[in-house]
């Protein structure tokens, strides 16, 4: 073998060796990627709500909140290589469409469901039980929890809020037993808290419910307002949506009967539960919304905090306008998505499969030291087998110079514990 031939053979061998080596390296890399891909999972979350149609003024920013937070989770890899596939569909506030959406989501392999309205939550309650599907709705109707294991309210129920608001009212009222009227939506949603509030009165809450008014599409509430004043009513507790409250407040402003200080004699102090308030009320009622008292368990962007700053940053990141970014319905959407993601994160951390059954167990275990602090609420989210109302604390806000400002600290009414 001459030197030239020897050199050629050596070169070919070296080239072949390096080819084999590099192939082996590539194969190993591909294997690693394939392994990683095999391990990365996709979890499906469904949301059916009114993006258009009745109540879409709440549903639209709510859907944006859910979408933005879940996008953020995927992009920032908050669940590692695992992804969330979110299916958001408009049901136009129609229960039959909600049911169809829910069934479609099931066939897609959904592991966590976010629902919206009171009507559809009540209507699909049996489906949720049959499918053993953990559900967080946007409706805080206490009746959602009756004969249900799988529905979890994100914050305290309307009933608990109404009792809390009543407790706040009684605590801040001076001079005898306050006379109160309830102004409610003519539906299961509106009527829900009436009996529970009456039960709180029976349990010792010292106020006199003089009248329960179910409103219509009224253009003029003069008769009702004058009637309430003639019955010495000083407080009107509202549980409906913003539009009728705005008309009521405008009429009260025209008649000059809005109390300028809490419980002012001869005037009316207006208070309302979650869906009566927020920036939409101010948008509709204008200056008539001044001194309106409102209860919710969410933090508001008008009161800066770490949660609200994060919310504004999230909205900005995804190009949302100021109206959506500052909407408490956007906060609400972010928060329910946070609950779903937290349940998934905990299941992963425990090394169990992320499925309906395990996510349900994770929700039930969210209490005590394991309570969840989403920062978008005024208290922690805690659930158990006997407690399906997430955030128990309430915050009272009051409209001052066109924005909602905090009144006092978050609290839990003792009557809520007694009655609910």
């Amino acid at each position: 073998m001459n030197a030239k031939r020897y050199f050629s053979m050596t070169t070919i061998f070296a080239a072949a060796l390096s080819l084999v080596f590099s192939c082996g390296q590539q194969q190993a890399q591909q294997k690693q990627i394939a392994q990683a891909q095999k391990e990365a999972r996709v979890y499906k979350i469904g949301l059916s709500l009114a993006i258009t149609g009745p109540t879409s003024d709440a549903g639209n920013p709510y859907s944006k909140g859910v979408e933005d937070y879940l996008r953020f989770v995927n992009e920032e890899k908050l669940l590692g290589d695992d992804k969330i596939e979110y299916m958001i569909r408009d049901d136009q506030y129609k229960t039959d469409v909600t049911k169809r959406n829910f069934e479609d989501f099931l066939t897609e392999g959904m592991v966590f469901y976010l629902n919206y309205s009171t009507g559809s939550t009540l209507g699909l309650k049996k489906d949720f039980e049959e499918e053993k599907m953990p559900v967080v709705p946007a409706s805080f109707h206490a009746g959602n929890l009756v004969d249900s294991n799988y529905i979890f309210l994100p914050i305290v129920s309307y009933s608990s809020q109404m009792i809390g608001l009543s407790d706040f009212l009684v605590s801040n009222h001076t001079g005898g037993t306050p006379k109160v009227a309830m102004f409610i939506h003519p539906s299961a949603f509106g009527r829900g808290p009436v009996e529970d509030t009456k039960n709180a009165v029976t349990a010792g809450l010292k106020m006199d419910i003089v009248e329960v008014v179910e409103h219509g599409k009224d253009l003029d509430n003069t008769a009702m307002l004058k009637r309430l004043l003639s019955k010495k009513v000083r407080y009107v507790l509202c549980h409906t949506v913003q539009s009728p409250v705005a008309t009521l407040l405008k009429d009260a402003q025209r008649l000059g009967v809005i109390a300028q200080r809490f419980g002012e004699s001869g005037k009316l102090t207006f208070l309302g539960v979650h869906y009566t308030g927020g920036n939409d009320l101010i948008a509709l009622a204008g200056s008539a919304a001044e001194n309106f008292y409102w209860s919710t368990s969410y933090t508001l962007t008008s009161e800066a905090g770490s949660g609200t700053l994060a919310q504004l940053a999230l909205a900005k990141r995804y190009g949302r306008d100021d109206k959506a970014a500052n909407s408490h319905n956007y906060t609400n959407g972010v928060m329910v998505a946070q609950i779903a993601v937290e349940a998934i994160r905990r299941a992963k951390a425990r090394g169990v499969a992320v499925n309906r059954a395990n996510l349900y167990q994770e929700l039930l275990g969210m209490n005590g030291y394991n309570a969840f602090y989403p920062l978008t609420t005024v208290g922690p989210v805690s659930y158990s087998a006997t407690d399906k109302e997430g955030v128990d604390t309430l915050q009272i806000y009051r409209v001052q110079q066109g924005v909602f400002k905090r009144v006092g600290a978050p609290f839990v009414s003792e009557f809520t514990k007694k009655v609910m």
């Binding site: 149609g53 179910e214 008769a223 509709l284």
Partner: protein
């Protein structure tokens, strides 16, 4: 006694707005015998146009109001030209079905804008202090609303009674074939009926929007809320719409003022108008001012 008079004033205010909202139904029915189910959507569109020009463009609200009247006039005329013109001579039920479809289309279009899913409020441009006389108060918004309503209704009444076009419209309403035989353009009359209905709807929407705030659900619901007014007044009578509107407004206020909250009653303000409607229709099946057509065979 001031309580009673307050209820009367409130009833007239609400009733006149009902009358203006009902007018759109009457104008279209009067000339074409068509019931426009999409009327509520046109009411909402009129309010939103006024708001958009006032707030987004910065035009003074009074001018925006007139721009809205003009735009809605042409919008409604275009709707008739595009969707309904081809249906002349077709069964009425087909035309009504088209207006139902139109309602969905307008809904969809409005949902594409911020007005579909957000709430707005007109800038406050009238004095906030109400006018109070002897314990009876009326806000400037309400007063201006009532004045606009009566001016428009008066204008329309004159138009139908005295103007050539108005008389042509009445003739078409009576007999389309006979009208055509004397040279009246029936399609043109239909277009004009829709256009004037659009104009009245824009006025009604802007007034309601000033009172309640701008919420699409609330505004388009008025297309249905005023239905009893239209039926009670007689589908083709402008005078009927006024009288029935005010009757309904007064019934609502008196029910809210004297029945609700007493004897365990609640929500009678919403129910009483329908009860009264049923009673009146038992005796006057064509409404208070509706024409009872006698068919000779």
């Amino acid at each position: 006694m001031s309580y009673f008079f307050q209820l009367v004033v409130s009833g007239i205010v609400v009733g006149s707005i009902y009358a203006l909202s009902a007018l759109g139904f009457v104008l279209i029915y009067k000339s074409s015998r068509v019931l426009n189910i999409a009327h509520g959507q046109i009411i909402a569109a009129g309010a939103f146009i006024t708001y958009a020009f006032t707030v987004f463009v910065g035009v003074p609200i009074i001018l925006s109001f007139f721009i809205s009247l003009v735009l809605t006039f042409f919008l409604a005329m275009s709707v008739e030209r595009i969707f309904l013109r081809r249906l002349i001579g077709e069964p009425i039920i087909s035309v009504i079905m088209v207006t139902i479809g139109l309602m969905s289309i307008l809904d969809g279009l409005i949902y594409l804008t911020p007005f579909g899913t957000e709430n707005f409020s007109f800038p406050e441009f009238l004095p906030k202090t109400p006018i109070s006389i002897g314990g009876v108060s009326i806000s400037w918004t309400q007063l201006v609303g009532v004045i606009i309503t009566f001016v428009l209704i008066g204008g329309f009444s004159w138009f139908f009674k005295k103007s050539t076009v108005g008389i042509s419209m009445r003739a078409v309403s009576d007999d389309q074939l006979a009208s055509m035989s004397i040279g009246i353009s029936v399609p043109r009359v239909f277009g004009l009926a829709w256009a004037t209905a659009g104009l009245s709807a824009a006025a009604a929407g802007s007034i309601i929007g000033n009172i309640t705030g701008l919420n699409f659900d609330t505004l388009h619901a008025f297309g249905i809320i005023v239905f009893p007014v239209v039926i009670l007044g007689g589908l083709d009578s402008i005078a009927g719409a006024i009288v029935a509107g005010i009757i309904m407004g007064l019934i609502q206020q008196f029910a809210a003022g004297y029945l609700d909250g007493n004897w365990g009653l609640n929500g009678t303000a919403d129910v009483m108008p329908y009860i009264i409607l049923l009673i009146i229709l038992l005796f006057k099946p064509h409404g208070l001012f509706g024409i009872h057509e006698i068919e000779r065979v």
